[in-house]
Amino acid sequence: MLSRIWHHCCSLKLAIYLASAVTLLLMGGSLLIPYNSDIFSSMDQMAMAEWLERVAAARLGKTWWFYLAGVLTVLFGLNTICCFIDWLRQIGARWRKSGEYLLHLGVALVLIAYLWGAVAGWRHNGMQFNLGETTALPNWPGHYLRLENFQPIMSPNGPPKDMISSISLLRGDQVLSRGKVQINQPLMYQGVVVTPVSFGQQPIGFRAILSNLQQVELLTGKIIQLQDGGRLQILRFLPDVQRKTSGEIFYRSNSLSNPAFELRYLSPRGAAWQGWYFARERLPAELQAAGLQIRLLSPLYSSYSALTVNYDPGAKLATIGGLLMTIGVLLALFSFYRKRRNQDRPEI
């Protein structure tokens, strides 16, 4: 009975049926991909398990085929492993098929690796890192990425040829890895891979003239000592805000549509005021009453680098699988020609 089940698990026909079913399902289902970008365009931006849970589960009418193809692929992978084990048991008589069965093992390892990455991995696609800042990685608590330097290499006719980001990967204050990330040269650290996506500039404040013709830079965190002895602190700069009727302020975008500063003013006598200054409106009455004038001159920008930070614990296993597939194919080719030369089973 057990022998019959095992024989069935290793069966060539089962492999062909499963591969055919997966092929037909993916052929039909994949044609939905270009026409339903709201569902499928995020597949590469999230780990597969997250995509299945957050996106696919909500649109089962158009994604059911994917679940079915996934189950059949897992069965196909199990069948491949069974075939490999069966070959191992009879390796004495079938060693000349080593190439073919290394290929089987490679495929099985790649499938296991993908499944592992799909369940335990995570992806941050095109995350924005500002120059000189340390940014937390949301899916990896306690870990940060710092953009230390950024240099775009432009081609003579305009488009960028490369984007070189010098980064540090940190656990708390401890540097885990440091290096340069550029096109086709990622930073890799224990399953984490950082690749470049794009870059740009974002407004971070304004150059301004104060009432006494003093020229200053209004940047987040900056404290300006005024000539009358008072102090002006820039608590926050937001390039584009929306003000609700309740008075609450919401960040809207990174374009300079409606910039605003959150300021704290400390008068020489120690009285404090804190509030918002909307650049398109007059200076708040409290600041005007204190004799302060601010004339904005020009916006200040900072470079940012958009990077993809992915974690795939199965990547190493997939590499081993790919290597075995390559060796398997080369051995199979060698064995094929050897058999032909020796007229050994010339029909195969």
Partner: protein, 264 residues
């Protein structure tokens, strides 16, 4: 003389070879076969020189738009044909492949042959290897298609000029096996490159999915040859259907659908 003149001359030589093989079917003269072979070898050499010339001019293997991929596919097909011709003397059995080759060149020569600028992500040896193995794989699948058609012709309308059914079957199986082996290398290299460039080794873009399907389909065919019921006619039909999948993956997706492998 420009590199395109070389390509035009190669096309002319291939056309003469096809004409020679057609005459061979009617007149069955040995010298016709030798002449056709000479035309193909000369055409292939000219096309190789043209490819190397364009490679030197561009500074990279120029296979990034429709013209250059059609050109490279055609070169790979001619190389594949020569492999079978030199190894097995298949003669007029390569007629379909050479006819397909002419179709590819016919379409290519109507398009802009200017060398495209290279997208930075493609500036890596991984890309060149990925493309070379991919089109060599496609070429063997095209050869299998041709041999599949010939198998069916020989089976239902026997012809003295065509090889025996067992030979056609053997050649078809070899073509599928070699195509699968090369396409496997293409997939492995593509996966490594994707991981380095984008941080994942498999993309759920439609091109990625269909490339996997091509691989899965032909891996199924490598197994199907051991199933008695699928040997012969069934295998020939699968070879023909498989080439449909290849054409859709290469041209259908690149031209009709939005993908990460656009053809312009």
């Amino acid at each position: 003389m420009t590199n395109i003149h070389l390509l035009q001359t190669a096309t002319l030589l291939y056309s003469l070879a096809v004409f020679g093989y057609l005459l061979l079917i009617i007149f069955k003269r040995r010298w016709l076969q030798l002449t056709a072979q000479t035309f193909i070898i000369s055409g292939f050499l000219l096309q190789t020189v043209c490819l190397l010339w364009r490679w030197k001019l561009a500074g990279f293997l120029p296979v990034t738009n429709l013209f250059s991929t059609l050109f490279f596919f055609s070169w790979a097909l001619a190389a594949c044909y020569l492999y079978f011709e030199i190894r097995y003397r298949i003669g007029a059995s390569g007629l379909f492949v050479m006819f397909l080759n002419l179709c590819l060149l016919g379409i290519a020569l109507q398009r802009d042959a200017e060398l495209p600028t290279l997208v930075p992500a493609l500036d890596t040896p991984f890309f060149s290897l990925h493309i070379v193995f991919s089109f060599l794989g496609y070429a063997f699948f095209a050869m299998a298609f041709s041999l599949g058609v010939l198998f069916l012709i020989q089976r239902y309308v026997p012809n003295q000029q065509l090889p025996r059914l067992t030979t056609l079957r053997k050649l078809n199986e070899e073509s599928i096996f070699l195509g699968f082996a090369l396409f496997t290398l293409c997939m492995v290299i593509g996966a490594i490159w994707a991981y380095w460039a984008w941080g994942y080794y498999f993309s759920w873009n439609i091109k990625g999915v269909w490339s996997f399907l091509v691989w899965l389909y032909y891996s199924g065919m490598c197994h199907a040859k051991f199933v008695r019921r699928w040997q012969g006619t069934g295998y020939a039909l699968l070879s023909i259907a498989g080439f449909g999948v290849v054409l859709f993956t290469y041209l259908g997706i690149g031209l009709l659908l939005e993908s990460n492998h656009p053809l312009e």
